[in-house]
């Protein structure tokens, strides 16, 4: 009997001992694939042997370095760092793990594996966070994508860094636990019912005011360009501004965002999702329309997106906003060609040898350029010194498919002195925005049940519908196209723009004067008419 008791005692002892020595622990976190989050389990195994701390499962540089951060954070938060052989496995093991999401989950699982904390919510939770050496939790990128994935998998809690918790506060179906440091996280986990204390209170996003800091009324003169931008934003037409240096092209383009309709919640989430991939410190949902103005020395990856760990490029950062390419002629030609597909599909698929990533890029394109190398062509205040050949070469670079997608081309001249000293303000952005909202509503009603939202996306079927019972317009278009030698694409552009002009006036059908105004924005600068130089008046 004694022997049996003794054996039982040894068994019990060994069991506990072994249990503690060969502890395995597992919790869930995320990694990012493009814009989507994928669940990653963080497994920790403590075993006897020479003290060692290894991370396996294709860790990137930042993930590998997290060993040092975790160790310091654990010690500086007042816990013991186990003097054991520690193996951390990030599974699935064949996806590359980058960025610093795993500091918090690794630290917590090490603490759990070494028996320092116990909790009932381990398998109901997700964890992300970067640790600093003193135990603070620093922000990470891609939080919204992760929250969406967390919703899909049906877990209850999501541990996020406190400073960026605002980003995901709009989600009510999952409980966001915002912790400032490792100690708080441990407290939230281990204390019974204490986790409720850390649930982040969602804020009403409508409360937050934003302001762009500039307004359309600050633009003096430039009536034609202003009107053109209003129409362009109204129907989401791509627009090209041509003018000498100092004529206010950039100023005008910048203000185009101020007249775009406000983002709704869904769009806010879309925009924030991309921005949170791009920079870590996105404190809350982004409510401003993005305005991206990349310099022409940008790299191809920077513009389109990509890289070793494919991330969003400028075209995706301009999603739901404006991409403004200043000095368009200076952009390398192949970059310009790269824009063709994104402009058409409103998303970019980046394919690398291991997988392909899709980023949304539904942007409005505004480009600005000088009319020639010296910048003064067609300007009567200063004489252009370029030869005709140079001017043609200048424009040839921009010819072709991308020029075709420019529904509107507007010439912007320098402000005459008389307009500059004029102290009267023009219309404010608010006034213009209210007109554009109405115009948008017209379009939404018209295109209900179809795959399109804006006039600029209208296909040939839709345009035929507009023309069907409108003989006057058909006649006018054929006269005009003969006179200006317009191509089919040119005529389509004019019709789309005239539809937007009609929408701005809340007119059910396109009238003649709408088409005539639309002509203004195409014909003065008609590249299709290649008998002459691109600008008609030379």
């Amino acid at each position: 009997m004694i022997s049996i008791d003794y054996a039982g005692y040894i068994f019990d002892f060994l069991h506990k001992y072994i249990y503690h020595l060969f502890m395995i622990f597992k919790l869930d976190s995320f990694t990012l694939e493009g814009i989507d989050a994928v669940t990653v389990s963080v497994e920790v195994h403590l075993s006897r042997g020479l003290p060692e701390f290894t991370i396996v499962g294709l860790p990137g540089k930042a993930v590998n370095e997290s060993r040092q951060r975790v160790r310091s954070a654990v010690i500086n938060s007042g816990f013991d760092f186990p003097v054991k052989k520690i193996i951390v496995n990030l599974s699935p093991a064949d996806i590359k793990k980058e960025r610093s999401f795993y500091d918090l989950p690794i630290a917590l699982s090490v603490l759990a594996a070494s028996g320092q904390i116990q909790s009932e919510v381990w398998n109901k939770s997700y964890f992300v966070g970067e640790l600093s050496l003193n135990g603070d939790i620093n922000p990470v990128s891609g939080l919204i994508s992760m929250a969406e994935e967390a919703l899909n998998t049906g877990k209850t809690f999501f541990f996020v860094p406190y400073s960026i918790a605002d980003q995901v506060s709009f989600i009510s179906d999952i409980k966001i636990i915002a912790c400032k440091n490792l100690l708080e996280a441990v407290e939230a986990l281990s204390g019974r019912g204490k986790i409720e204390k850390f649930i982040y209170k969602s804020r009403n996003i409508a409360d937050r005011h934003f302001c762009y800091g500039f307004d359309f009324k600050e633009v003096k003169g430039q009536f034609k360009a202003k009107r053109a931008l209003e129409i362009a934003v109204g129907g989401r037409h791509n627009i090209m501004l041509v003018g000498p240096p100092g004529s206010g092209k950039t100023m005008l383009a910048k203000r185009a965002v101020t007249i775009m309709p406000d983002l709704n919640l869904e769009e806010c989430i879309d925009v924030t999702k991309i921005y949170s991939l791009y920079k870590k410190n996105v404190s809350g949902l982004i409510r401003e329309r993005p305005f991206r103005n990349p310099h022409h020395t940008i790299s191809r990856m920077g513009l389109i997106g990509g890289g070793i760990n494919p991330g969003p490029g400028e075209i995706s950062l301009a999603h739901r906003g404006i991409l403004f390419l200043d000095e368009f002629s200076q952009f390398p030609r192949n970059f310009i060609e790269d824009l063709r597909q994104p402009l058409e599909n409103r998303e970019i698929v980046i394919t690398r040898n291991h997988s392909s990533y899709t980023f949304p890029c539904n942007f409005m394109l505004i480009v600005a350029t000088n009319p020639c190398y010296c910048g003064y062509f067609g300007n009567d205040s200063k004489k252009c010194v370029c030869s005709l050949r140079e001017i043609k070469r200048f424009w040839k670079k921009m010819s072709g498919p991308v020029m075709d997608r420019m529904d509107m081309r507007v010439l912007v001249d320098r402000l005459p002195e008389t307009s500059f000293v004029d102290t009267e303000y023009g219309e404010s952005s608010e006034t213009i925005k209210s007109r554009i909202n109405k115009c948008m509503n017209m379009q939404i009603q018209r295109f209900e049940g179809r795959n399109i939202v804006y006039n600029s996306e209208a296909g040939i079927d839709t345009i035929n519908e507009w023309l069907k019972d409108n003989k006057k317009i058909r006649d006018l278009i054929s006269t005009v196209s003969r006179k200006y030698n317009l191509t089919a694409r040119g005529m389509t552009s004019i019709l789309k723009v005239s539809r937007t002009i009609a929408d701005l006036e809340a007119s059910i059908s396109i009238k003649e004067h709408h088409v005539i105004e639309a002509l203004n924005y195409r014909v003065c600068f008609n590249y299709d008419n290649d008998s002459d130089a691109p600008i008609n008046f030379i």
Binding site: F223, V242, D413, T418, I538
Partner: protein, 379 residues
């Protein structure tokens, strides 16, 4: 097409013996324009040394890719290019009179052999809408009454002059600054193919000569040399057109100029010519008056009613029914360009309405955008 024996010999002298064209012409003139004597002079004496003359045109035939004159003649015959020498009867007399006429002319299209009264139209390569209208109007009407329009086959005014004159009786002659097989500027390919049907393309340069910068002043002397008068449309202060006029004056040709806006820098050259005594042209009659000696004989018949279309133009605005707003804006836009901002301020009409009206007036050809967002009247 055949080449005359004289032209083959001259080609031989210029290409194989490396005699400068200027030297040849001087010898030709010293020999009282006796072709045989001149040709024999160069053929019989080898190793002639000639004094370098600063008045020689700055070109020679020594820099070329041809091995011998025979190759050139083969090329010429194969490509149906004509070759005309100063010793031939068909060589235009008027060209023979100038200082240093070209000893050889390569050409396409036979009009050059039957030169009659002709006028050169020269001007800016970067012309404005106004210059374009003027070039088309003048050359079209000149060609219709049978006057040959000569120009340089360059871009801008030149190409419009050629285009407009091709339809008429007179046709047009294009003088190249490069070899006849080279199309420069390339945009003029269509014109290049069309001109030989009703006119000709002429050059003194050997086939294959690239359009070197120095060729053009040399070419300009042929343009003015082929004509009784030169009309300048839109020329900057120092432009090729002005050089042509200076040469034309030296060749004792009439120089006429089309005036433009006093505010436009592209008309400064024309205005200077007018100040210096060039005849101001604002209609075809001005040109014909200048040449009443010729025109009296040749163009007397039907002169009066040929210009009916001009009166139509003047009355054009009354043919189109303009609304009061449209008329208000049209009346405000003068012949000096007005910006959209000015128009809006003056008329106090809504911007979008102003833009519509401007487009409407432009479609109907009443106004023209002549620089960024600035409009002026055409009629």
């Amino acid at each position: 097409m055949k080449t005359s024996s004289n032209s083959e010999k001259i080609l031989h002298i210029l290409v194989d013996r490396k005699v400068k064209p200027g030297t040849f012409i001087k010898a030709y003139k010293r020999n009282n324009c006796n072709s045989d004597k001149t040709i024999n002079y160069f053929l019989n004496y080898k190793n002639l040394k000639f004094e370098y003359d600063t008045y020689d045109p700055d070109y020679d035939f020594t820099r070329n890719n041809w091995n011998s004159s025979k190759d050139i003649i083969d090329f010429v015959l194969r490509n149906k290019i004509g070759l005309l020498s100063i010793c031939d009867d068909d060589y235009p007399d008027i060209l023979r009179q100038i200082h240093l006429p070209p000893p050889l002319l390569f050409f396409k299209g036979d009009r050059i052999k039957k030169m009659e009264f002709s006028i050169a139209i020269v001007g800016s390569r970067k012309c404005t809408a106004y210059g374009k209208e003027a070039a088309i109007y003048i050359s079209k009407n000149l060609s219709e009454i049978g006057i040959i329009v000569v120009s340089g086959l360059a871009a801008g005014i030149d190409s419009y002059a050629h285009q407009a004159s091709l339809g008429g009786k007179g046709g047009s002659i294009g003088v190249l600054g490069c070899g006849i097989d080279i199309i420069y500027p390339p945009e003029n390919k269509l014109l290049y193919d069309k001109i030989p049907e009703n006119g000709s393309i002429v050059t003194e340069f050997l086939p294959g000569t690239p359009p070197l910068k120095s060729n053009f002043p040399v070419r300009n002397r042929i343009i003015s040399g082929l004509c009784q008068g030169v009309i300048v449309i839109e020329a900057g202060e120092r432009s090729g057109a002005i050089i042509t006029c200076e040469i034309a004056l030296r060749q004792n040709r009439e120089v006429m100029a089309v005036p433009g806006s006093i505010f436009s820098p592209s008309n400064k050259g024309c205005h200077r010519l007018i100040k210096e005594g060039a005849k101001l042209v604002d209609d075809i009659d001005d040109i014909l008056d200048e040449f009443s000696i010729y025109t009296g004989k040749i163009f007397k018949s039907g002169h009066g009613n040929k210009f009916g279309n001009k009166k139509e133009k003047v009355n054009k605005k009354y043919d189109i029914n303009l609304s009061s707003n449209e008329l208000k804006i049209y009346e405000y836009i003068g012949y000096k360009s007005k910006s959209i901002e000015d128009i809006v301020k003056y008329s106090s009409i809504e911007v979008k309405e102003v833009l519509r009206i401007l487009a409407y007036l432009e479609i109907n050809g009443l106004i023209k955008e002549d620089s960024f967002n600035k409009y002026s009247r055409l009629f």
